[in-house]
């Protein structure tokens, strides 16, 4: 049907509401069992699709398809324990369900009416299994506002979005509000751009609305390029209509009739869901000509990123949307003044748009009350790295890192020490343990030398070398530098060379000063955000982990045991049982030995691939500092120990 009024929306809502309410815990006597299967990228990769198909087949075999419905949903966020399957009524939360488990699940739960204990979440610290989502600590400490539909609705069904009050805000705006009023609401809400820099969203809308030139465009930046960040992808996969609705509102407010979603081609599921969502919205008359019977037209089309990190920068993104090389240009003019085809263009990030629908639904007064004094609302973070519960979380601004990492994230696996958390991707920095209790918002993260970025959080433990991490990010920035401006193109290359030198044991103490000086130059002189923030990983690791750099340079040692050139593998002759497995595993033929004689590793031939370490049944192969380098270093042996304690003290 074509939706023309709020009454039409209500009609759709009524139809789908009972289904949704049951999923939210209402025992509304629906006479229907709903099985929700997560279909986000992470669960998809661990065979959630196969689980779903198997479920459908098994239900058909048992003649249960009438009273049971299998529903695809977006990401629950609990990616570590995927694929997730949830059964309603009862809100039973099953983890790591394999296609092979389906039969038992159907037999025991659906036919037998009993919970299948073995697939429930197992809480390692209490040793107990828990039944529902509310029992899991990971979810208890979160406040899912932007993600409220992820894991609840079927993203491929527009009716379910409407049942969650979707498109009501759009109807209200188009039918009852003028654009100034709406922009004022966004401004008052205090919402800031979730792409990283935190520019006030309402200001941006106002600037674009004030331009007299037509046509204007709305662009959604879904070019989520930060390694380790997957918030935007999850929103697009789990709740695509929230972005569509907000973009249409934006179009109405700034006076645009065309929008573009610039999405990474590497996100096939997100692309598929977006295409479907746009199609469904068009069919329902929520995109296209004369929305809600007014003369306001708005339509959307997708544009694909083709693998260039710099395209996340807004001026580069504009070029890419126009099908050109994604190179940035100087600002001003800002995209609000001169964007696509030289016309005023509003660019917001996926999560920002998802927040717009929240502001409109809940009211700016409510939104203003969330978060900290400078940063309102909540923030979605993707947790990854050395942490128990990798996944997607949402917390109010101002939550401490400790809560996120140790409470929600469950801490560091394997009894290892927390070393740092990296936020903001290649533009951010590493935050050490001393800031764990810092309430995080845009300003506080900036003060630590990192930044909010798009919301990726990578947790690192004592086994990660901070010099190597800085090198890793510089390699990324250098590779992704588009080459347009010299400070970024040449500067990052020189920075990387110095870092490589240090990780290979060729560094000098002067290199550390050079790193800093060069970093400041690149930061100040680069054309766009990529270059301006590229030195951040170096500066922040130098600031908090300087002694690690010093240990690399002066003692030729890598305390974390990561930098290969500084490693040396030896066989502990006491432990060696001369089984010869290590020699067989060695691709470089660096290990020699004879029966009943301890084996030996030739450091000249050894490529430090550690294949032998994995093979040794007695853990007789040990990692240590390179003897030849240590000899050159003279006092290295003494420093080696000293460096170690020094380093631990900072942890």
């Amino acid at each position: 049907m074509i939706i023309k009024s709020i009454e039409d929306l209500k009609e759709v809502k009524e139809k789908y509401e009972p289904l949704i309410k049951q999923r939210l815990g209402h025992r509304n006597g629906l006479g229907l069992t709903q099985i929700l299967v997560c279909s986000g990228t992470a669960c998809h990769s661990s065979e959630s699709r196969e689980v779903r198909l198997e479920l459908e087949q098994e239900l058909a075999r048992r003649g249960l398809e009438e009273q049971t419905r299998v529903v695809k949903t977006g990401c629950f966020g609990f990616c570590e324990y995927g694929p997730i399957v949830m059964v309603h009524p009862g809100e039973i939360f099953y983890c790591q369900v394999r296609p092979g488990d389906v039969r038992e699940l159907v037999e025991k739960h659906l036919i037998g009416g009993q919970v299948l204990e073995r697939l429930l979440y197992h809480n390692d610290s209490t040793g107990k299994r828990t039944q529902t989502i509310e029992d899991i600590h990971f979810f208890q400490a979160q406040r899912r506002i932007v993600l409220r539909n992820c894991g609840v609705i079927n993203p491929e069904e527009i009716g379910e979005y409407i049942a969650r009050d979707g498109y009501f805000a759009l109807a209200d705006v188009i039918l009852h509000k003028n654009r100034e009023e709406v922009i004022e609401m966004i401004k008052k809400s205090g919402l800031r751009g979730r792409g990283g820099a935190g520019f006030p969203t309402g200001r941006k809308w106002e600037l674009t609305a004030a331009q007299d030139i037509r046509p204007k465009y709305v662009v959604c930046n879904a070019d989520e390029g930060d390694p380790g960040a997957f918030m935007d992808r999850s929103i697009l996969e789990g709740d695509p209509h929230s972005v569509l609705e907000a973009m249409t509102v934006a179009g109405y407010c700034i006076g645009a009739n065309q929008g573009f979603i610039y999405v990474r081609a590497e996100y096939p599921i997100a692309v598929e869901r977006l295409e479907l969502a746009i199609e469904q919205a068009r069919e329902a008359g929520l995109l296209g000509k004369g929305l809600f019977g007014t003369d306001f037209d708005f339509d959307l089309s997708l544009r694909f990123g083709a693998g260039a990190f710099v395209c996340g920068e807004e001026t580069a993104l504009l070029h890419s949307v126009m099908g050109q090389r994604g190179e940035p240009r100087p600002r001003p003019p800002y995209p609000a003044q001169e964007g696509i085809w030289g016309k005023p263009t509003l660019i917001n990030n996926v999560e920002t748009f998802a927040n717009i629908t929240v502001v409109l639904r809940e009211g700016w007064e409510w939104y203003q009350g969330q978060g900290t004094s400078t940063s309102k609302g909540s923030k979605v973070f993707s947790l990854a790295g050395k942490i128990y519960n990798t996944g997607l979380i949402e917390v109010p601004m101002g939550t401490t890192l400790r809560t996120i990492i140790f409470d929600i994230g469950g801490g560091i696996p394997g009894n290892r020490q927390f070393k740092a958390v990296q936020t903001g991707g290649p533009s951010g920095g590493c935050i050490p343990a001393k800031y764990l209790d810092l309430p995080i918002d845009y300003e506080s993260l900036k003060e630590t030398g990192s930044m909010m970025g798009s919301g990726g959080m990578i947790v690192m433990d004592e086994g990660d070398c901070m010099v190597d991490i800085a090198r890793f990010y510089l390699e990324f920035s250098q590779d992704e530098s588009c080459g347009r401006c010299t400070p970024c193109r040449v500067g990052t290359k020189r920075l990387l060379e110095i870092l490589i030198r240090i990780t290979e044991g060729q560094g000098e103490m002067e290199d550390l000063e050079m790193l800093e000086e060069l970093s400041y130059d690149i930061r100040d002189a680069s054309l766009c955000g990529l270059g301006q923030t590229a030195p951040n990983p170096v500066l922040s690791t130098l600031r908090y982990f300087r002694n690690e750099y010093v240990t690399h340079v002066r003692d030729k040692r890598c305390p974390a045991g990561v930098c290969k050139a500084l490693l040396h593998y030896t066989v502990d002759e006491e432990k060696c049982i001369a089984c010869g497995l290590c020699a067989k595993a060695c691709a470089a033929q660096a290990i020699t030995g004879a029966p009943k004689q301890p084996y030996r590793i030739d450091p000249e031939k050894c490529t430090r691939c550690a294949a032998c370490v994995a093979k040794c049944p007695r853990q007789a192969i040990q990692k240590g500092i390179r003897k030849d380098v240590a000899d050159l270093g003279g006092e290295a042996g003494i420093y080696a120990g000293a460096g170690d304690t020094e380093n631990r003290a900072t942890l």
Binding site: C79, G228, A229, E266, A306, Q324, R325, G326, T390, I469
Partner: protein, 194 residues
Amino acid sequence: MAEYDVTGETHKEQESPAKVVQEKKDPLQEDHRSKQFADLDRVIGRYSRERGQLIRILQKAQEIFGYLPEEVQAYIAEKIDIPVSEVNGVVTFYSLFATEPKGKYTLNICMGTACYVKGAQTLMNALKEELKIDEGETTPDGVFTIKSTRCVGACGLAPILVANEDVHGKISPGEIKKIIQTCRKGESVDNKKH
């Protein structure tokens, strides 16, 4: 020991089936080629009406041809009436576009931070060692290409290897051999079909 297996198999595939296919296929291949260009014409017809769809056309062209040789770039430039330099500029700017043919299986190791801290580099080394080629290269038999990719956003499953479209999560260097073997099996089955 495993190395011998691999090289042995490589030789086998290189010598027999590939040659046979080549000789037999010549007229067929020409036919195939013109079909590819016909497909490309349809893509251009569909997208060139809209402004700024060059990237989409190139993506579709790469789906058709597997990569973007100069011939295809020039063809597109002429059809949509823009300088070939502009097309080439776009092709060389974005990492998704390839100007060299890729192997039947592209093995992508995710080099996002989450995968990196969970040992993606070791995986990459193991993969290079196993296939005896470097990153960005294709095995002589045209079966495998090794690439590194930016974050695929499935960090919960780190470290990740993407074989064509299939995402393999939480893998160890040992499992790489298995994945390669599975691909090879698929390959030999396909060859027999021809």
